[in-house]
């Protein structure tokens, strides 16, 4: 209802199909957090959809039905996410860094376009991790003598603490949001960052829990030497933490956020050990001061 002309035009161009890939992701992210905006997009989709009445029918090959039947047998929505049995990225990187040639552990291996993008994105992560391995010895001695010199996740215990909040997403200015997903069709977590306080919340939408495993959230940025842990995502639907407070706003806003599967309680080393299962980037949702749609 209270959407600006910009939002309405964005929704219209989404339905028309003229947005680029990043803008489409932005719209899909907004749709995931704003039901009113979803209604605007759908109204456009359905209004324009009547144009398809004029598109001629083309028969697909008969084999396609067999593929679909097989596919629906494999993708029952209630089934848990299956985690690939591949070696962790960090181990690959530490061994010599040709991660780009190795199969990247991904849940979604059906979408090669996604995969190649991810390979590019994570190549820089791998490089950062190799650099980390080289300096590990120095770090270890620092850990003994001056733990405060080390970045958060490298410090010895105490571990990042998980705070479960009873209330839903804070209603005050939640300005940045990221869908953490394996592909645009299946968001797993919604990350919301309050621009003013840098507090963030993680809301579970599609991800299923694996016994004995934890999801751990990482911030990945070219401004950081390596991915840094933002802590383990709690078992409940909402997790809230102030862990981004030490990062500057620009880093927070431009970083990629990634979720890996780790042993229960999180990575024991401070470095991601498990496969990357979901990633996303923040987009701005509402300008400061505007009340949110929901």
């Amino acid at each position: 209802m209270a959407h600006s002309e910009d939002h309405i035009a964005l929704a219209a161009e989404y339905a028309l199909g003229t947005l680029d890939a990043d803008e489409r992701t932005q719209v899909e992210t907004l749709m995931a957090v704003d039901d009113d905006f979803t209604a605007v997009v759908q109204a456009w989709e359905f209004r324009l959809g009547v144009l398809n009445q004029m598109v001629g029918a083309v028969e697909p090959r008969p084999e396609l039905w067999d593929r679909i039947k097989t596919a629906i047998g494999e993708t029952e929505p209630q089934s848990p996410i299956e985690l690939p049995e591949t070696p962790p990225v960090a181990a690959e990187a530490a061994r010599g860094g040709h991660v780009a040639d190795s199969p990247i552990p991904m849940v979604d291996d059906s979408n090669l376009i996604h995969l190649s993008l991810r390979v590019r994105r994570w190549r820089s992560v791998a490089v950062a991790m190799t650099a980390l391995a080289a300096t590990l010895v120095a770090m270890l001695s620092a850990q003994v003598y001056r733990p405060d010199l080390l970045p958060g996740a490298m410090r010895p215990k105490p571990r990042t603490q998980v705070v479960e909040v009873k209330t839903p997403v804070p209603t005050s200015a939640a300005q940045f949001v990221a869908l953490l997903q394996k592909d645009s069709a299946s968001p797993a977590f919604i990350l919301t960052v309050d621009a003013a306080t840098k507090n963030f919340t993680v809301r579970r939408v599609g991800a299923t829990s694996e016994p004995g495993k934890s999801y751990e959230l990482w911030i990945v940025s070219d401004k950081l030497q390596r991915p840094r842990s933002l802590g383990v995502i709690g078992g409940n639907d909402f997790t809230a933490r102030p862990a981004l407070a030490s990062y500057d706003t620009d880093t927070v806003n431009r970083a990629t956020y990634a979720v890996t599967v780790e042993p229960e309680g999180g990575s024991p080393t401070g470095v991601a050990t498990g496969p990357i299962v979901f990633t996303g980037k923040l987009i701005e949702t509402v300008p400061p001061g505007t009340p949110q749609g929901r």
């Binding site: 003229t18 359905f46 209004r47 009547v50 004029m54 029918a57 697909p60 629906i72 993708t75 376009i113």
Partner: protein, 182 residues
């Protein structure tokens, strides 16, 4: 093609995991959806992939279909079309030169229907599109039917991308006003 009420019934059955209904739904709608995505993707392998994903999504989200908001075929086609657009937008290396030149701008309405075959909703939308300047009409219809990006449209209309962006935005807002959308 089955009637819309029959399709609504089939989708409701699919939501209850009725595989026979799903097969009937597929049989009744596959050629239409395939036509829509093939026009955008222009490759059978990509179109088959998108149609497979589309029907998997329909199988998994049939319970979310709201017949009060859209006709069954419009709902299904919008799932298919969104997947197709996602695929072409991520294949940015495919340039307009590779597009078959057979696509005639004069035929931007791909399969003209006799007026009596059109639904009221289609007539109304075409009236509103028809009120745009002729070039803008072509712009909107090429974008919709062929799934062209702003860059492809800019090349076709020999205009800067930013100008095309402005035209698209203005055209959509004009259509919205003409349709009387809040």
């Amino acid at each position: 093609m089955l009637t819309p009420p029959e399709l609504v019934w089939l989708i409701a059955a699919v939501a209850k995991r009725d595989e026979a209904a799903f097969e009937r739904l597929y049989t009744a709608t596959r050629a239409k959806l395939y036509g829509v995505v093939l026009r955008i993707l222009r490759r059978h392998d990509l179109a088959e992939e998108v149609i497979q994903e589309t029907y998997v999504k329909i199988w998994n989200s049939a319970g979310q279909f709201n017949p009060g908001l859209a006709s069954p075929i419009t709902w299904m086609a919008s799932i298919a079309r969104n997947r197709a657009i996602d695929v072409v937008r991520k294949r940015s290396e495919v340039s307009i030169e590779e597009e078959p030149s057979a696509m005639d701008v004069a035929a931007e309405s791909p399969d003209p229907l006799a007026r009596r075959e059109m639904t009221e909703e289609l007539k109304r939308l075409l009236e509103c599109v028809g009120r745009l300047e002729p070039d803008r009409q072509k712009l909107v219809l090429l974008a919709y039917y062929n799934g062209w990006s702003r860059e492809q449209l800019a090349e076709k209309f020999e205009a800067p991308v930013n100008t095309v962006k402005t035209w698209l935005r203005r055209s959509m807002l004009d259509i919205r006003e003409c349709l009387g959308l809040g």
